[in-house]
């Protein structure tokens, strides 16, 4: 339906940063969608993680449960699953710095601003990373804290940086 996606926040990365935070989730919409595209790493062999924010601050507690399938162009598919992590993996492929290699994905978030319920998400993504392999991920997760989530924090693991990427938050019109 035309006009169903309402843009709330957008972060365009043009120089190296270790993390990007988008906020603006409130009770206006029931479902929110994050889209990230053309995310490239400034540091080879790094993963990108995701945490939910409360009042703009990432929650780093061990309350991230995830389950999904890693779709690999070069070998057998594998699982992406675990309970009580301190973050969600957005991708299972290691990021590369090579030109043309990038990662893209969409994440839907449910119940985020309801402080009486857990926050759920589904994700789908694809990227070409280290070793020049196309890998995707289909799955979801739950943040097992009854709190009002107001955003998402993406970060490169360890001392990694991203130097390109567009991150956008939309609300799905009721």
């Amino acid at each position: 339906m035309a006009g169903s996606l309402i843009k709330i926040d957008e972060e365009i990365v043009t120089s190296a940063v270790a993390s990007v935070t988008l906020t603006g989730i409130d009770s206006t919409y029931d479902v929110y969608m994050f889209k990230y595209e053309n995310v490239q790493s400034a540091t080879v062999n790094k993963y990108m993680g995701l945490r939910f924010t409360e009042s703009g601050t990432p929650n780093t507690s061990a309350n991230y449960d995830r389950a999904g399938k890693v779709l690999k162009s070069n070998t057998t598919f594998s699982n992406n699953a675990g309970a009580n992590g301190t973050f969600f993996y957005t991708h299972q492929n290691l990021f590369s710095t090579d030109s043309g290699q990038a990662n893209n994905g969409t994440i839907y978030i449910f119940n985020a601003n309801n402080a009486s319920e857990y926050t759920f998400m589904t994700q789908e993504n694809v990227g070409v990373g280290a070793s020049n392999l196309a890998w995707g991920n289909q799955g979801g997760g739950v943040f097992t804290v009854t709190s009002a989530v107001d955003g998402v924090h993406f970060y490169m693991e360890d001392t990694g940086n991203m130097d390109t990427g567009t991150f956008t938050l939309y609300g799905l019109k009721k």
Binding site: E10, E11, I12, V13, S15, A16, V17, A18, S19, V20, T21, G49, G56, P58, T60, T76, S78, T86, F87, Y155, E157, D158, T159, N161
Partner: protein, 103 residues
């Protein structure tokens, strides 16, 4: 590797990597003290995982496939042809060599 060792390594690496930046509201800001503290915790956890647990994931992702196993085992047991089984064993052992369990 224990948490104290991992934290010491992480602190040194984060110190070396400074300054680190974050992007919020389209502003590029240097990490706060709390951000650096969290980066040390995350890096230490990552090092603990790499040192103590990652071998298991690496083995799971690199073992020859179940299809390969079934075909090789079946040919060996039913047809008494062991060429594929021998190849399977070689690949299996190579994965265990490539990704050793920490002592």
């Amino acid at each position: 590797m224990n948490i104290e060792e991992a934290t010491a390594l992480a602190e040194a690496e984060i110190e070396e990597a400074k300054p680190l930046y974050k992007q919020v509201n389209n502003e590029r800001l240097e990490f706060s003290s709390a951000d650096y503290d969290q980066a040390v915790i995350d890096l230490a956890n990552s090092k603990m995982y790499e040192a103590n647990e990652k071998w298991s994931q690496d083995r799971a992702e690199n073992y020859p496939s179940m299809v390969e196993f079934v075909e090789a085992y079946t040919e060996k047991e039913i047809l008494t042809e062991s060429a594929k089984w021998d190849a399977y064993v070689e690949k299996y052992n190579q994965v265990r060599t490539d990704f050793p369990k920490p002592s």
